[in-house]
Symmetry: D2
Subunit: 299 residues, 4 copies
Amino acid sequence: MPQLRGSLDGLVFEKSDPEAIAARDDIECVFLAVPHGVAAEYAGPIARSGKQVIDCSADFRISDPAVYEEYYGQQHPDTDVLSQAVYVLPEIAKDGWMDASVFACPGCYPTSILVPLFPLISAKIIGTSGIVANSFSGVSGAGKQPSAAFAYCEVNESARAYGIPKHRHLSEIEEQLGQAGQGEVVLQFNPHLAPMNRGIITTITVPSSGASIEDLYYIWENWYGKRPYVHILPMDTRPESKYTIDTNRIDISAVKDERTGNFVITSAEDNLMKGLAGQAIQIMNLWQGWDETEGLTHA
Amino acid sequence: MPQLRGSLDGLVFEKSDPEAIAARDDIECVFLAVPHGVAAEYAGPIARSGKQVIDCSADFRISDPAVYEEYYGQQHPDTDVLSQAVYVLPEIAKDGWMDASVFACPGCYPTSILVPLFPLISAKIIGTSGIVANSFSGVSGAGKQPSAAFAYCEVNESARAYGIPKHRHLSEIEEQLGQAGQGEVVLQFNPHLAPMNRGIITTITVPSSGASIEDLYYIWENWYGKRPYVHILPMDTRPESKYTIDTNRIDISAVKDERTGNFVITSAEDNLMKGLAGQAIQIMNLWQGWDETEGLTHA
Amino acid sequence: MPQLRGSLDGLVFEKSDPEAIAARDDIECVFLAVPHGVAAEYAGPIARSGKQVIDCSADFRISDPAVYEEYYGQQHPDTDVLSQAVYVLPEIAKDGWMDASVFACPGCYPTSILVPLFPLISAKIIGTSGIVANSFSGVSGAGKQPSAAFAYCEVNESARAYGIPKHRHLSEIEEQLGQAGQGEVVLQFNPHLAPMNRGIITTITVPSSGASIEDLYYIWENWYGKRPYVHILPMDTRPESKYTIDTNRIDISAVKDERTGNFVITSAEDNLMKGLAGQAIQIMNLWQGWDETEGLTHA
Amino acid sequence: MPQLRGSLDGLVFEKSDPEAIAARDDIECVFLAVPHGVAAEYAGPIARSGKQVIDCSADFRISDPAVYEEYYGQQHPDTDVLSQAVYVLPEIAKDGWMDASVFACPGCYPTSILVPLFPLISAKIIGTSGIVANSFSGVSGAGKQPSAAFAYCEVNESARAYGIPKHRHLSEIEEQLGQAGQGEVVLQFNPHLAPMNRGIITTITVPSSGASIEDLYYIWENWYGKRPYVHILPMDTRPESKYTIDTNRIDISAVKDERTGNFVITSAEDNLMKGLAGQAIQIMNLWQGWDETEGLTHA
């Protein structure tokens, strides 16, 4: 990371080994940033040694191993640890989440959809069928593996949908929304690739079930009014991804289309911050009882 | 246009004047590329002088002056000429369109939505409620006026929704779909700005009403199989805007999501070609009885 | 600044007025970020009231009013204050600079050229004629005024030279290099616009006068080895602008071309940080006796 | 090439084989677009069979096999054919070039430097030492191999120098300039990577040897005034790469810096057109006696 040159003096990079990490007694909390499948191999020994795991992979985001297998094409590597894990999107996590030994940190797409929808479904002011979410993500969401598909000239000056109709992240989005209290939720999720390094915007169309836009804002304000990382923008303002870059913030707003009866909800976030790494820090802060914004300078 | 330097020898730029154009007898056909409101001022005298008008503005795209006034905030300047105009998206234009004296050429968003949906609604294999279209457009769609909102550093590396919930182009989209034969169509249309010069992609979610994906492709093949500028891509391929740049082509494909029962339809085009200027040339070619692709080199 | 929403609680924006600022006794230091010409109107009353001025305009960068007039096309507005000002590029500023009442903070192009060249000219290991500097700057260097020239579609996917042959910044570059001790320096400076938001790279070709590349690195190490914001990269590594973004760092490296006898020196920096705003903070830190990196998180 | 879908009906792709191509009697001219080293393996059999070869690789650009070996790190594969080849930059190629059996088509960097400099060196109005050329190229210049260095997020929003101090293309540039008639020319060539798909700009600083800018333009006009693909822009206009995209044109202009006595010459071209593929077509047109612009629509 040449951009951090000079900031990392004293930082030691070591070959990692689950057992060796588990055996150390100078470690309280371990962040896992490895591929799914691999994460569970680390989480097991580490969690069993009594250390807290904050996992950034998909391995602990879905509680049902059968759904995991359906979406990820492999058996879950450690269902024992899975049963001790909890999904932690801090602003909507269920009471008691801090007692779990593994925290599953959600990624960019689910965060951009769950933050705006979860309170509305909990409050029963929107329906649970007919929801359509379209997301546009920057290229860093695709990771660092060199591939022809993400070469500069392939991605630059173009846009495309992909992962339709059954993107992996659907499974966790639907599980979480289902837990909001109104039974099964089935969602249409259409992800797209945008020619930019970072940032994600999501536009959600959802039948209003007769609720007014004021009802919607009232519920959001109630839920998020005091949370530092969810900013509720006015009805006439659409979030822009650029304003969230390098911050741990998600910006949301909504408008009601009286012609169709739909709410149109828009959100924006930095896929590398609130969309993963920043959120993982936020989880640690809350778990430790520290200020939620510690180490995350911009609100 | 410095990029055309050397290609335009002999081309004469003149101050334009509707009456003077109307008076000339060496002109058969006039393309209007001026703002709405202004177009109607030109179209009147020119059409009355017996010349063909191909208009690229919004002035003749909506047949009902009241709807025009609702969406464009001003009275229609010439309802007499309006009544002699016809909407010409060549692949779906109604029989007899060549007899009209003014051809209204549709723009980028409507083309990207009407081409895939019109045959499906005509064939009654999709419903007319619950349609959600999300478009993602390059910046040239915003025109050439200098403005802070479209300065390089404002647009680059960011994405945002805008024009929600009632974008001007909705009016013509809904009018045309209504004419496909199943009565009123109300659409949720969510446009977005993408950080690229040209190109537009649209993703449409539409309830399948029990039809299969094979039904959908069969209808498309029937309708567009022999048209040079509509390319039907395989179900597992999403159109990419880059492959349409500098062409007059629109690429379309669809997939059925068995979980939601929806078709997810995607289209891509160059907003400056099939999305307007290329389409205007295509209209002239058809009207003249020339080969549809004359002067439009790439298929 | 929507990206700072939530970080600026308590910050008060006021209409500014030089006399009112001068009259306040709760202010020690004033940053001026206004156009040249305007800056001098503020600096006079404020400096005379005993407050320190850190000026980000060109008004105090050139000591000779005649040269200022030649390059900026107007008489210097306040030569009295000019005589109390000093040019502060922290790593090369002359002894005693902290005693001046106005600090002129240099901008992006001069910083990218002066940091690598000043020590080499001081040490007399390069010649002072035949120097050629080519810079490539991101678009934010052009400021925020909306203009057709900096509209997204004009700048995107293109590059061009501009400001040749006599860019305004030449005057201060040549004055500073002249003070390095070998008499007059005349430089060929060719600025270019690059399609990116931030960042600047400069490539300087300079006759080596027989010195070796090791001599050059020895001088740099001696001069900058302990400074946090000048990073000397290995001879086989070229600085990339992306690694400096959001930091106050300038990265430099050099190589000797044995075929031509030239040194080819390359530098990279964030034009908005080390190229101006970050440098202004760095100046305040040094003047106050604080740690040089205070408030400037990345080294 | 999905963007050409529909334009290539009837085009046959075959596994290529030098001997099989050589044996066919329905072929007059073969374009080679393969890596250096490989090109010579094809060119030998094909040229010996009496067919014309237009080669886009480096294999026939350097007449001296020793220089080839120095710059490309391998022995020349076929010095026999090399002796029958000629370097063809159409506007400066030496008389009689059409008699050669292999035409070496130059690439982007050499074209951008040779077109402006060759006539000036021939006319002896500039010196041959102290020339400094800085080029700034789009990413397509790096080819199609997937690599981490050219992944979208690595290239986007950044700029860097590379290939300093001895880029491979130097060898052919210096050979050609040496043939302009004033003996050996040694050049400082500094290439850079720009965050854009296509296009290249080059800025050349060259001592004027007392000549005036009018002298320079007079020579250019004389040499290029009637050539369709070299556009001479006014002294106060710098070429922009965007205006050359999709054309076979190179735009050039120059200004004299009276302070330094240097000419500053700038050029722009599309690296994929005049910078290679377009130029290869132009060569075929001239060799066949066809109009130079055949198949190359924009001038």
